[in-house]
């Protein structure tokens, strides 16, 4: 018997489920290379899978500060370096003293009514558009002024994308869907390679078998079996083909069924070509300037026409799209937007809880909204998707509620000490949190 070099063994599972052991008695160099290749490919595919399951999205937690106040309240009409609806604010503290600014920000109309000449001039210059009165504390106004000063010192940035609430936070888990499909392609590719290599391998064996047959040495055992086992037979081909069609058909059906009701990527045409890219992106208007409901309750709310008119009674009045707003306003006809995010009726989602209490950024669920010219549904909005986030997201423990209600429990302390408390730790997976 020839001597054997052991370079590994494969266990192949054929459709019958019987393990097929392969021990080439006298391998050739080409066989060795092929088998090594297969090992490497298999391990590669495995590691891609593992890598996928370890990637966790990051949570961005908002900090209350001057920047936030500016973004949420001022940015819709003012920019730091250039005029918008109102004047550019760079150097505003050089132009007026703080006491005047405090008065002006709290109630500009009162200052104008008091006959302050600067105020009246300013009012006239900006087409008599009244500035909203802000019921802010001294500290809040000073924080905003400090932010203006700080930003004013920086050079103007040409491209937007850093504004709080508009720019950041979108990068976290945004690519989960793409990643999944990429993985699938890699695995399919690898499987294809494996099939190709296996057929090459088998061909090699058959050649080896025939060679031995020709030389008069009758092949024995597995070598003989393997060489003939995968030899194509017409009946096998038809049967295999049918099985393949059936299996992939079932797979496709299940895949389709599990996607019923999922509208990820849904991007309907809206009655007005409103661009979030322009408003939230380029102009850095805070999301809650228009979607005010997110700061109060369950619905984020689509802005009413009068909110649009806050700016558009001044800006771009000639555009045909803006004219649609004007028409709606004048004829008192509501705009019928096409609803993109449709949660089922029995699922309760509260914007206030997520945006204000947890401090989750809008982009976490709505995707890179500041880059969308036309909005589409970014996330799956399935229960699994919600639950996953509840499992992974850490609770914002600054809120006294959590300290007072959960603070004394051992599990709470333990979880905080370990790796932070997730929403799931606090009952965030309970059915009746969302279904009632």
């Amino acid at each position: 018997m020839p001597k054997t070099r052991d370079f590994g063994a494969w266990r192949l599972f054929l459709p019958g489920g019987k393990p097929f052991l392969l021990y080439p008695s006298r391998p050739k160099l080409s066989l060795m290379i092929l088998s090594r290749l297969l090992t490497v490919l298999g391990r590669g595919a495995l590691s891609i899978f593992l890598l996928h399951s370890f990637i966790a999205p990051q949570v961005v937690v908002a900090q209350p500060n001057g920047a936030e106040l500016f973004a949420n309240n001022c940015a819709s009409c003012h920019k730091i370096h250039e005029d918008l609806v109102g004047p550019a604010l760079k150097g505003v503290e050089q132009r007026r003293d703080q006491a005047w600014l405090l008065k002006w920000i709290r109630n500009s109309q009162a200052v104008i009514a008091s006959g302050d000449p600067y105020a009246v001039k300013l009012y006239e210059k900006w087409n008599k558009s009244a500035m909203t009165a802000f019921d802010w504390s001294d500290e809040e106004i000073i924080a905003v002024l400090a932010y203006i000063k700080e930003e004013g010192a920086k050079a103007p940035v040409a491209a937007a994308g850093t504004g709080d609430g508009a720019g950041t936070g979108g990068s976290g888990s945004g690519n989960a869907g793409e990643f999944t499909s990429l993985t699938m392609w890699v695995v399919l590719f690898a499987a294809g390679i494996i099939v190709l290599l296996l057929s090459l391998l088998q061909r090699q064996y058959r050649l080896l078998y025939e060679e031995r047959l020709a030389t008069g040495r009758i092949p024995q055992g597995e070598l003989r079996q393997f060489a003939w086992a995968l030899r194509p037979k017409p009946l096998h081909l038809v049967g295999g083909g049918l099985t393949l069609i059936l299996v992939s058909g079932i797979g496709w059906g299940v895949d389709m069924a599990s996607n019923i009701g999922i509208q990820q990527g849904y991007q309907p045409t809206q009655p007005i070509a409103f661009s979030h890219e322009l408003h939230a992106g380029a102009h850095e208007i805070a999301c809650t300037y228009c979607h005010t409901g997110a700061e109060r309750g369950k619905s984020a709310t689509i802005p009413s026409v009068n909110v649009c008119m806050n700016c558009h009674n001044q800006i771009k009045k000639e555009s045909p799209e803006i004219k649609k707003i004007l028409t709606a306003y004048e004829t008192n006809t509501p705009i019928e937007w096409v609803r993109i995010h449709n949660l089922p009726d029995f699922g309760y989602f509260n914007h206030y809880q997520h945006y204000k209490v947890a401090g989750i950024q809008c982009q976490k669920c709505h995707g890179p909204i500041e880059k969308m010219t036309e909005v589409y549904q970014h996330s799956q909005l399935t229960m699994g998707w919600c639950i996953n986030c509840h499992r992974e997201t850490k609770v914002n423990l600054d809120n006294g509620y959590y300290q007072q209600v959960h603070g004394n429990s051992e599990a709470f302390k333990q979880a905080v000490a370990d790796k932070g408390l997730t929403i799931a730790n606090l009952g965030g997976l309970d059915c009746a949190k969302c279904h009632y």
Partner: protein
Amino acid sequence: MEKKYWRSLDELQQTDAFVQESSREFAQELPIESLWSDGAGVQSNRRDFLKYCGFGLSAAALAACNKTPVKKAIPFVMHPEEISPSLPNWYASTYFDGHDYASVLVKTREGRPIKLEGNKLSSLNQGGLNARVQASVLGVYDEERIQEPEIEGQKASWEEWLGEVVQDLSGAAAGSVLLLTPSVVSPLTKSLLQQLISRYPAIKHVVLDHQSVSGILDANEASFGLAAIPSLRFDKAKVILGIGADFLGNWVSPTEFTRQWSSGRRPSKESPVMSRHIQFETILSLTGSNADARYTYRASQEALVVANLYNAVAKIAGRNSLDVPALELAGNAIAQTAKELWAARGASLVVCGSNVPEVQLLVNGINDMLGNYGTTLDWSSPWQVLQGRDSQVSQSLSDLQSGQYKAVILNQVNPVYATAQGSSWAKALKGVRCYGFSLRRNESTALCRALAPASHALESWGDAEPRQGHFSLMQPAIAPLFNSRSWDEVMLGLLGRQEKVYDVLRNSWIARAAGLGIASDFSAFWRKILHDGVLEKQGSAQATFKGFDLSAITNSLKVSKLLETSSKDMNLVVYSKLGMGDGRLAHIPWLQEMPDPITKACWDNYLMVSMVTAQSKGLKDGDMVRIKADGVEQEIPVLVQPGLYADTCALAMGYGQQYAGKAGTGVGVNAAPWIRSSGYVNIQSLEKTGETYQIAQTQTHHTIEGRLHVKETTLTEYAANPASGNVRPYVSVRQEDGSTKKVYPGVSRDAITLWQKRDYEGHHWAMAIDLNACTGCGSCVVSCQVENNVPVVGKQEVLNRREMHWIRIDRYYNFDNQGEGSTTRRINQENEYAGIDKPDQVSVLFQPIMCHQCDNAPCESVCPVLATVHSSEGLNQMVYNRCVGTRYCANNCPYKVRRFNWFSYIDNPQFYNNPAQTDLGRMVLNPDVTVRARGVMEKCTFCVQRIQAGKLDGKRKGMRPVDGSIQTACQQSCPAGAIVFGDLNDPQSEVSRLFLNERTYGVVEELNVLPSVNFLTKVRNTTPVQA
């Protein structure tokens, strides 16, 4: 030996039908046969089955191929500042419909009123509401309301309608136009009425109350010079005697009285005192069923009972007595009660429901002898909601018949239906020019030549002064849905004034504010009272008792034949049910479906007969009888009711209407022809017709197999041992050393268990219900139905035992309480239900039952699809979209609180009564609660939507929700404050304190299901008060 409780006569007698039914969880088999057979008796077969399968499959496939429909999101054009979508707004307002008065808080969502709650700042409500006012919110969304003014059947404008009325008013002779209105509680309406009458002297204004308290008003006018009712203070009274007055149910101001009464009945370990409540009555009323001692009298002898009580008190007080025949109730009750009242003089209270002025005069005399004026009866702010005087009403009818009136204006009154002289009214009204102003059409408006739509109380501006010096503002919660106006607006129109009613109201308040000494900043004051809803100033009225002539009263009573002792006639009593009242809300299906607290019957009225009468006449439940009394004959089904005086039948008013819409039309018979101020009519004949009728009663549904679920004790025993009557089940556990130890599963949770211990790290929601405070009024049932979108299923489904109420009130009878000082009458085996020989003497216990949110929930362990699972906060969650409808959970629930959606109540035409079936009715649904689909289980959630909102509010404020800030709907509406909900993990919360109370127990806690709802034992004050 334990006392034996029973819930129905069938159970008492253990009839075959009862035994059979009680062993079944669901009353009927699945209705598959009826679905598949073609109705002609042809049974279904395998082919049909396959057909349906095939159809089902293809239909499902087709449905799945549908594209997801495009949904629109339509924001406002101009966003109203005060509306935030998804957030409720609350407005303080006032509800008054002519009978029920309440200061309310209106919850609106996106501009729609969806729920009413009592205003805590109002002394008349103190946060509670009765079932009718709870349900009245649906009256706004009523498609059957009058929508446009009409003249002689033709649609007209308001100007035309007002023009017609003005034409009849101007130039007519003085006092030739009759204006009939309900009581006028609004100062604004009063002043406008005055202006109207001085402008048009033709108007003769008469107040018509469908349920008047005319007798008391007459008596008080004679005794005190004030036609009003003093503030009654049941909370200050040590001994309360009610004589035929259902003050916890329907008499005068029941919501207020319930809160007062229950606050006087909260004994504690430290101070084991509570009021003693004695009730004399003919039928079993809600008040009587809550009394410590209850005695029955013949309806025709009410005056005699009061006169004898007067004599008994006078004898002790050393005053002159009346010359009347002597009468005594069982166990010398009158003499005994007189002694008790005297012992507690100055802190006792006698109230009487009679409408006979002489009887009420005697009651005033009794209270005066007892020195109760100034303590338990306070004249400083008299109650003035009901003002109707029977004498004026009958005078106006005879004037109308004699042709004195040329025209009649009916403002939200229905004399044709609701008065005993209805047919005379109908005849008389046909002869005059009649104008109707009403929310809905009714028997009287049908006779009007012109008709105008009234605005609902929730659509109108206005005010009210229910009690002198106590003001309440009415602000609209929604703009009028139809082309309707309020009565104030109509009067402004008749006066030709162009102002808006809001401006008139505000101006009237500017004048009033000056009178009240609020001159400084009116707009701030105005904002505050609009916000608070009420302004309560101590009234300044004074009244002293003038005394009366004893012989005059005796004579007058003799003339009215109210002092007969020998009468053996059977009496028919007309009473009002808590759900239906006088029937003005009979079109509201929630009230039709609310089980009556006593009979537990819904969707009907019926002749309640005593057990004695039933036996002698051979009647049983559902037998139709032909009854003739005072010349009126009707056919009515019979319901045998324990607790009635032997020779008595009783019939509820408010039924038998012709215009009560889908829900109320044709339900029952009208009792109004038999309404008498004396309170009864003699029955001339009562015969079985031989037919039978099904009355939908819920009382034997969801039976819990004779387990001990209600516990009671007496005050004496409680004082000696606070845990008396509260025998807790235990398990004997053998210790290592061979001794045994008692383990109480209800007390030390998890002491011995096969279940995995549950840890509640955050909240642990729980509820404690005080059986001593609960009166069984059923306000919680309607409140829960409104809050949780519970469907109305209709009479047939109630008969099928498929009612959907998430909370029910179980009513138990027993025979042991005779009020004779004996604590309990013990029951032995030979005499299992002792007292069955005295069927009028039952005592009653009420117990609200909803989902107990068990820690070891039996329902959870049998659900094959995990549709009901436990939450980390102790809630037993029901996940509708997982439920496949096996109903195993309902079968395994020891409390029988799970309800199965047998049908699609929102679109199946069989359930046309369900409010969710019409576009307008859907407006009342709570958007925070899912409307359940067919084929799923549902049950009480502890109002999880309110819990979640309360927690979110806590997070908003950065703190634990304050105890009491999260209230379940049943708790919020409870007029007695019997329900306490809160967090067991908060040691400061009231519910955790109550869970440690000696009176607290869990129902069937021996099953170790660890319910999160616990009860506090009922304490009866059975010991007579001694001097």
